[in-house]
């Protein structure tokens, strides 16, 4: 109870600021655009999106699909990568590895994205080396790894950022456990795979699952990496939303806001799911 009361000021500010913005966004998505004197509420923006009509609506379903594809693939691959890396690092404890992982966290996603672009573009660093070595003759010979239709560049960028993040979460958990379980399992004749499956995995699963949901929610709502490394079509939902919001035609804002709210709704569902799972286990 005491804890809850001390949170009150924070909650108050959050509710006021976030609540006001959310309400404002909701009103705009319903066509309440005071700038151009529109005050009538309607569900037109949502109808356009669902039926795939209008400026943003035409791309809505493709964008939703693309956003889900990028978020799900990035999350699953990050989780697998992190699990693998954490298990590996846990065998040889050192301070250096956590330092290396923390160091990565200091870079914003945008910086990673630019780095990937400079490295992997068809006229990027790797392509130039390949050209200098005579492996490729022209930039077009280099495989398309960024600004590609399947979001490979975007996914690679997220892997570079999220694997270290999840690894840190898992390592923190693993390193606070004693080696007892593993030793007992080994004594009982469990091989490496069995030890991983029956001891390590159950230990880290709660952290891994909630961490992954966090990663998913972040990627699903993030703008900068897909804006930088994506193609013109299909685009992720946040990119589509911002374009509608900055569209010269102010009426397009309703659709932009509707998309933003749909993103927020999906992310909230994921967060709620994560919380429910945590409570179930905790």
């Amino acid at each position: 109870m005491k804890l809850k009361r001390s949170l009150a000021p924070t909650l108050l500010i959050l509710t006021l600021l976030l609540g006001a913005s959310l309400l404002y966004g909701l009103m705009q998505s319903l066509g309440y655009l005071t700038i151009i004197g529109e005050k009538e509420l309607s569900l037109t923006a949502y109808q356009n999106l669902i039926s795939g009509q209008g400026t943003a609506g035409r791309e809505f379903w493709a964008s939703l699909g693309f956003s889900l594809w990028v978020s799900i693939v990035s999350t699953i691959l990050s989780a697998i990568g992190a699990l693998f890396l954490a298990t590996l690092l846990n065998r040889r404890p050192s301070n250096f590895d956590t330092f290396a992982l923390n160091w990565n966290l200091a870079f914003p996603h945008l910086v990673w994205g630019v780095f990937m672009l400079l490295l992997l573009a068809q006229s990027g660093l790797l392509a130039r080396w390949a050209g200098a070595l005579g492996i490729i003759q022209s930039p077009a010979d280099f495989p398309v790894l960024v600004r590609d239709r399947y979001g490979i560049g975007i996914i690679l960028t997220y892997l570079g950022k999220e694997i270290p993040f999840l690894t840190l979460l898992i390592l923190a958990l693993l390193r606070t456990q004693s080696d007892g379980y593993l030793l007992v399992a080994q004594n009982l004749g469990a091989n490496a795979w069995q030890r991983f499956r029956l001891v390590t995995l159950p230990l880290v699963r709660p952290a891994l699952v909630s961490g992954s949901l966090l990663v998913f929610a972040y990627i699903f709502g993030a703008y900068e990496v897909p804006a930088l490394l994506g193609v013109r079509y299909p685009r992720t939902l946040p990119v589509l939303a911002l374009e509608s919001f900055t569209n010269p035609d102010l009426r397009a804002r309703a659709e932009g806001m509707a998309i933003s709210l749909i993103i927020a709704f999906i992310v909230l569902m994921i967060a709620g799911f994560a919380r429910a799972k945590e409570e179930l286990q905790g």
Partner: protein, 416 residues
């Protein structure tokens, strides 16, 4: 409890900081009496929001207008560089929604799309553009000036400079004789050189791409002038042929038309990295300013097709809630001064866009000499003036902007 009070305090301070300023900086002046404008502007600071992505343009603004404003009128120039015009449009719109009467923006560099947005929101100071003294040099009867992307200007903005769509090639890579000189040529050229051509994806915020597609519409339909008014039947007749044209050579494009550069800078970078053979520019100095900025190779040159190269003007406008309208008017007037119009076209000054005024309206012999001298020194990276003039056409009526963008997306980007 103490914390709660503290939080509320912080919050109320935040609110106070957001509240509109109550002091009024707007001095009284009468637009019909220019001296009263000058007197009101004396000592003011004019805050000019403009696209700040080019170092050379920023330097030109500071070194020419900034210095002259201070010396001649005791007005301080506060240039606010912004990444995208949409950002300051949003600033002005938010101020309107919040009821801010003394806005942060005094003057804005806008054209076409942004003008349309602000006009739609009724956020522009009205009835001034033809009242400032130097507007006598502006050819207000020209539809290319009194319509901005086809939208009637209605005295809400004043021209700064002009631009015309041109292509850029690298003279070290290609011979001038082998350049395509029409859209039909271009499609042939592109398929003879697969992957070496692309264009900016038409869409909101990427008007150069839209303009490129409109040029094709003009050529395929054989006439530019007929697009000056909206005609649904005409559009239904010709637009499918335009999409056919683009779809036919789509697979010959860079990345086989799977994606397109989203703005001019992405295209310059593809061109500079030797991924494609053409870029585009709108500047009267052609590739000159881009070469100086190091964005394209020094051997880059500009060229145009024989016809259908769309030209237009860009403008400055004053938000209706500007705090220093007098100073903004003085600056808008200074921009049209023949002396500065001559300075802005010279490649070495770093601006590089064309005249906003009609030079034939200038009668003072000294000013005429300065203007003629500037025209004679546009640099070798510029398109020859006679080519420019021969190919110049005006833009289509404003509804075609979104019709072209939507149609291209539906039929070329997504379609097939």
């Amino acid at each position: 409890m103490k914390r709660l009070i503290f939080a509320l305090l912080v919050f109320s301070m935040l609110l106070a900081a957001c509240a509109p300023k109550s002091d009024s900086a707007t001095a009284d002046f009468d637009l019909a009496d220019w001296d009263s404008v000058l007197a009101a502007a004396d000592g003011q600071t004019v805050t000019w929001y403009m696209w700040g992505g080019s170092d050379s343009i920023n330097a030109y603004v500071d070194n020419f207008y900034g210095v002259a404003l201070k010396e001649r009128y005791n007005v301080t120039l506060n240039r606010v560089p912004v990444a995208d015009a949409a950002d300051y449009i949003n600033q002005v719109l938010s101020e309107k929604e919040a009821g801010v009467e003394n806005g942060a923006v005094d003057l804005m560099w806008i054209n076409g799309e942004n003008f349309f947005t602000l006009k739609q929101a009724e956020m522009l100071y009205a009835d001034w553009a033809q009242a400032i003294p130097n507007s006598a040099f502006v050819d207000w009867g020209n539809p290319a000036i009194n319509r901005d992307f086809g939208e009637p200007v209605e005295d809400l903005e004043s021209p700064w400079s002009s631009a015309q769509f041109q292509f850029i090639y690298d003279s070290a890579r290609m011979d001038a004789d082998s350049l395509p000189r029409s859209y039909a040529d271009l499609a042939t050229w592109a398929c003879e050189h697969p992957g070496r051509f692309t264009y900016i994806a038409p869409g909101p915020g990427a008007f150069q791409g839209t303009r490129f597609v409109k040029g094709a519409l003009f050529e395929i339909s054989g006439d530019a002038a007929q697009w000056g008014t909206v005609d649904e039947a005409l559009w239904d007749e010709w637009s499918p042929k335009v999409w056919d044209y683009f779809n036919k050579f789509k697979t010959c494009l860079w990345r086989e038309g799977e994606t397109y550069p989203k703005d001019e800078y992405e295209l310059h970078s593809l061109f500079a990295n030797n991924e494609v053979d053409f870029s585009i520019t709108q500047a009267i100095v052609g590739a000159g300013a881009l070469i100086d900025e190091g964005l394209v190779p020094t051997t880059s040159r500009a060229f145009v097709f024989d016809n259908y190269m769309i030209g237009d003007f860009n403008y400055v406008a004053i938000p209706s809630n500007a705090s220093n309208k007098a100073a903004a008017l003085v600056l808008a007037n200074l921009i049209l001064d023949p002396e500065f119009q001559a300075a802005q076209v010279l490649p070495e000054n770093g601006f590089g866009l064309g005249f906003g005024i009609d030079v034939t309206r200038v009668t003072d012999p000294d000013q005429v000499a300065v203007l003629e001298d500037a025209l004679a020194n546009l640099g070798e990276a510029a398109t020859p003036a006679e080519d420019m003039a021969k190919s110049l056409v005006g833009d289509a009526a404003s509804p075609y902007q979104s019709m072209v963008e939507e149609g291209w997306r539906e039929n070329v980007l997504i379609g097939q």
